[in-house]
Amino acid sequence: MTALTAFPTSTRTPRVDSRGGRKAGAPYLFLAPALILFVLFLLAPILYSAYLSLRRVKVSGLGLGVGSRHEVWAGLSNYVRSMTDPDFLPSVYRVLAYGMIVVPTMLGLALLMALLLDAGRTRVGTFARTAIFLPYAVPAVVASLLWGFLYLPRVSPITDLLTSVGLTPPDLLSDSWVLYAVANIAVWGGTGFNMIVLYTALRSIPTDLFEAARLDGASDIQIAWRIKIPIVLPSLIMTFVFSLIATLQVFAEPMTLRPLSNTISTTWTPLMKVYRDAFTRNDVYSAAATSVVIALATFVVSFGFLKLVGNRAFNQED
């Protein structure tokens, strides 16, 4: 604990004794801006959604005049209406299928690239690392725009390529392909960041942990599989959870592809349905109910997964 630049060897944080002459209110003042913003922009919106999801507008008389429309309690009717909406379940299934494509592909590629970089058996490491990380600097809207054009049969080099060898090119924005087309954009945008996270974790493994195995004749693949991957498992778990949360919220990519493709409906993902209900149909109550369901589902999935993997991701400081 003496060197300023080094990490303490214990995970316990030393405390400044608040009785030792410091003002007792100081930590609260330091926390105040964060807590105020937290309450205003996280807690209040969540509670307000929950409240709205239980309300509805009651129209009395002919619905004309100022006093004829007022809010009343609605019980769970918004939830029933939202869940039984014929557009809801298909959008949920679509996002689940999308997640099952995106998350394993993206993390698999990220892990593979990180392991290849860490093995250090190439001279193109720095170039490849920078190139693969680059898409993180590209907003999802712009990424969708770039890929969207590349999917158009008139622009796509894939079309040129397949036509030149006599095959019929698929329309990547057609109904049967569009899910993969959107998934590809997410994989492209997310692989680099996850690769950097995993690569950083790999770099911090002490070399002697696998030098011995190497001397015993273990191959790089055995070392990666038996030593490196188990050690970076906590990082993999966390990238998995964050990727899952991001995937369930997919919005920008399909919204941007819509002008280029008529196969993406306004309720293509659950969040797009929320947007349509709130702003196109002016039904904020049903939109709130759907939001609550998505939020709860995300929580259940991410917590459930963390519970399932048990202590591996638990590295709590106190």
Binding site: M1, L4, F7, P14, R15, V16, D17, G20, R22, K23, P27, F30, L31, A34, L35, F38, F41, P45, Y48, S49, L112, M113, L116, L117, G120, T122, A128, I132, L134, P139, A140, V141, V142, A143, L145, L146, G148, L150, R154, V155, P157, I196, V197, S204, D220, I231, V232, P234, V241, Q249, A252, M255, P259, L271, Y275, V284, A288, A313, F314, N315
Partner: protein, 302 residues
């Protein structure tokens, strides 16, 4: 302990550079297979960027007629056309984006630094509760908040203003979490004690002692938030109606929608997409060494 057992991120940016490279890794036989795989990955990631670079040099007619990767000579004409679009609206979007990302990231980093410092270096009643609250906040799907945030801001008449995008961007539970770890790792308690004995109050200790020690970690938090705000689409899309307040993402989305009726707009969209990624790419290449983020691998590494 359901929430506090979740540890999303442990940053490595505060790590001393000496631990980053070790001998014996990289001095080994070259593997062609590894090289080929990495180059394929790089090609996949660079291809759309290469395409937009080439496509922006084409004229409107050439975009859909000449070979995809055949460059042309109209880049500057396209930039001029885009700049003339409705009196330079595109550059206004660029400036708005810089404002949202710059001010938002700066404010959120400062707010997070204060909160993280308090959580790491003080003992006080309610501390565990606050920390659990913030960890739960990390797992809240951010964009689900956008619509209720809109409805609440609409009640106080603040939608369709710069504030409606800036204020929600200033809170990042994840940033607070990171700052707590940075503060715990980088600021020895003895130094704070020394400052106190020298007569520095809490605020002065924070500004003159803690902040400089947390500097490299704070750069990482700033970059995270800067990129998140720069790339954000849903929040400004919902909050803003006036296209003079749009950031690039919402503006380009709008341009693309116009292209559906007016195909000559497409080349402006493509040129706009190219110009929009230049600032972030430059920022990335310049600050690469701060992008070392170690998720979940234990708070402390020697």
């Amino acid at each position: 302990m359901t929430v506090s057992t979740v540890v999303p991120v442990v940053p490595a940016a505060a790590q001393s550079p000496a631990t980053a490279r070790r001998p014996g890794r990289g001095s080994r036989r070259i593997s062609p297979a590894a090289t080929v795989l990495l180059l394929l990955g790089a090609l996949y990631c660079l291809f759309p960027v290469l395409w937009v670079l080439i496509a922006s040099s084409k004229s409107s007619g050439e975009l859909f007629s000449t070979f995809t990767l055949a460059p042309s000579s109209h880049l500057f004409d396209n930039i001029r056309d885009l700049s003339n679009y409705r009196g330079g609206l595109y550059w206004r979007w660029m400036a708005n984006t810089a404002l949202y990302a710059g001010v938002g990231a700066f404010a959120s980093t400062f707010v997070s630094a204060m909160a993280g410092f308090a959580l790491a270096k003080y003992t006080f009643p309610g501390k565990q509760f606050v920390f659990n609250l913030i960890l739960a906040g990390v797992l809240v799907p951010g964009v689900i908040l956008a619509i209720p945030q809109y409805l609440l801001l609409a009640k106080v008449g603040m939608t369709n203003t710069y504030w409606s995008v800036l204020l929600p961007s200033m809170i990042t539970p994840y940033g607070i979490y990171l700052c707590r770890i940075f503060a715990a790792a980088a600021i020895p308690t003895e130094v704070l004690e020394a400052a106190r004995i020298d007569g520095a109050g809490d605020w002065r200790s924070f500004v003159t002692v803690a902040l400089p020690m947390m500097r490299s970690g704070l750069v990482t938090v700033f970059l995270f938030q800067f990129v998140a705000i720069w790339n954000n689409f849903m929040l400004p899309y919902i909050m803003l109606g006036d296209d003079k307040l749009y950031p690039l993402t919402v503006g380009l989305n709008g341009l693309l929608n116009q292209g559906a009726n007016q195909p000559s707009m497409y080349i402006s969209v493509v040129t706009g997409a190219l110009l929009s990624i230049v600032p972030l790419v430059v920022l990335f290449l310049a600050l690469q060494r701060y992008w070392r983020v170690d998720l979940g691998a234990g708070a402390v590494k020697a």
